[in-house]
């Protein structure tokens, strides 16, 4: 019979033993060595049934297929745009995937997306050597105009969104801002007034810092209503 060495949401470091025996299965952030399951990251443990995983507390964004991300145009080539995501890998947005309009051969591509433009885009494909293909065809995928972009730790994105988007819709309703969260940890905030934008930014910063606190939703609710 296998034995669990850690509790749910325990802080673990690389090389720490999480479980003994073959009854448990290693998931992301863990590996098996002989009879043991060990952590390979600094993070918090999550146990679901027989699966054990470690959610990292730091680290860069590792691109995944079908992720919606906020990217920056880094370069324009003859047949598309090079998009950067804040991690080690850049990807390609081709003409075909960029727009449903007909783009003439030799057209000036910067009139569609210029250098430094922020795009809400989706990863359609990713190869083993981390060559990424993007698309702009899909609901909500567009170029961002106005507002501001902040960077948070990518592993904390799910907490900012909340269960079925509860956290983010609360921030949106309370501040009246429009907010888009990319899986790469970039958050776009656009409001009518600068104070509203600031309030939404502060709320997201609180979530990032205290992402593993119990009753975080109540805390944010309190902050948004009373400002503390």
């Amino acid at each position: 019979m296998g034995e669990l060495k850690v509790k749910e949401k325990d802080l673990v470091i690389p090389g720490e033993i999480l479980a003994e025996g073959m009854d448990y299965l290693p998931s992301t952030g863990t590996f098996r060595e002989g009879e043991h399951i060990l952590s390979s990251l600094v993070g918090l443990t999550y146990i679901s049934g027989r699966l054990i995983k470690v959610i990292p507390l730091s680290g860069k964004y590792v691109p995944k297929k079908d992720d919606m991300v906020i990217g920056t145009v880094k370069n324009i080539t003859l047949n598309g745009w090079i998009i950067e995501l804040g991690g080690p890998y850049t990807g390609m947005l081709t003409l075909k995937e960029a727009s449903s309009d007909f783009i003439e051969r030799g057209a000036d591509l910067s009139q569609y997306f210029d250098f430094g433009d922020m795009l809400v885009t989706k990863i359609v494909n990713i190869t083993k050597s981390k060559i990424i293909d993007f698309t702009m065809k899909g609901p909500g995928l567009r170029k961002l105009k106005g507002g501001k972009v902040i960077q948070i730790t990518p592993s904390k994105v799910p907490r900012v969104i909340g269960k079925q988007g509860s956290m983010i819709s609360m921030i949106k309703e309370s501040t009246g801002c429009r907010v888009i969260i990319g899986q790469n940890g970039r958050v776009w905030i656009s409001g009518n007034k600068p104070e509203e934008e600031l309030k939404a930014t502060r709320a997201i910063m609180i979530i990032e810092q205290e992402s593993h606190t119990e009753g975080l939703t109540d805390k944010i609710k309190n902050f948004l209503e009373k400002g503390v």
Partner: protein, 238 residues
């Protein structure tokens, strides 16, 4: 000369006082400081990030690049800034000491840069550097199989093995075999072993044995430093 006590009054297998701190450099992706006695090393990790020139890229896994350097005021005689023959060698052995624990398969064509800087040197700088670098890599969120602990042993009075040599002992007359080593605390695997001086086979085996024991203590310091850095988040969860 009868040798019953070390120059600074330590026992033969006693380490100097150690201190570790994680997350000291805000602009880096991961960073750490490791102090042992008067030796202070800081390490900054940047990456995984793009690697240029392109021919250095590996399409199968990520590349680790280490850079070790002494600050010019870290030693008694001013050290001329810039890379030297010595710092190049230490950069290389540090890289080889850290590589076995890193899992870079998920970062093809990318590089992880480790910058180790010695702020104050009192012997054992490469070991302090490796200890700091291993903490900084963990802080940067790079998957690792284990931490790496490093310590230097020496031989004085012709047959007595001492652990964690300081500068005063290193400069003693009469052939001290300075043996820096890096050990993976869980498996006891040795990833770095150098030796400068003369020693018999038995003495080397004894050195490794004592080094392994010392690394257990170093591991505890490293573990506590990492948990302290992220502990605030954990306390909040309780």
């Amino acid at each position: 000369m009868a040798y019953t006590k070390r120059t600074d009054g330590r026992k033969f297998d006693e380490l100097r006082e150690m201190e570790a701190k994680v997350g000291i450099i805000k602009s880096a992706d991961g960073s750490a400081m490791f102090r042992v006695g008067k030796t202070i090393a800081i390490a900054a990790v940047r990456g995984p990030r793009d690697l240029y020139p392109k021919f250095k890229q590996d399409s199968q896994k990520g590349v680790l690049r280490c850079n070790y350097d002494l600050m010019s005021f870290s030693v008694t005689e001013r050290k001329r800034p810039g890379p030297s023959r010595r710092s190049q060698e230490i950069s290389l052995v540090t890289e080889k000491a850290l590589l076995p624990v890193l899992e870079l398969d998920n970062f093809p064509n990318a590089v992880v840069d480790v910058f180790i800087t010695i702020v104050q040197a009192d012997a054992g700088t490469r070991c302090a550097g490796i200890n700091a670098a291993s903490l900084a890599l963990a802080d940067a969120g790079i998957p690792m199989k284990d931490l790496v602990c490093a310590v230097a042993t020496g031989i004085i009075n012709e047959d007595k093995v001492i652990v964690d040599v300081n500068k005063e002992e290193e400069d003693l007359e009469g052939g001290l075999a300075d043996t820096p080593m890096a050990i993976l605390p869980r498996s006891g695997e040795v990833t770095l072993l150098q030796m400068d001086g003369e020693a018999s086979k038995e003495e080397i085996l004894e050195s490794i044995k004592l080094g392994k024991r010392a690394c257990e203590q170093i591991y505890r310091v490293q573990r506590d430093a990492l948990k302290e850095r992220y502990g605030g988040m954990k306390d909040a969860a309780d």
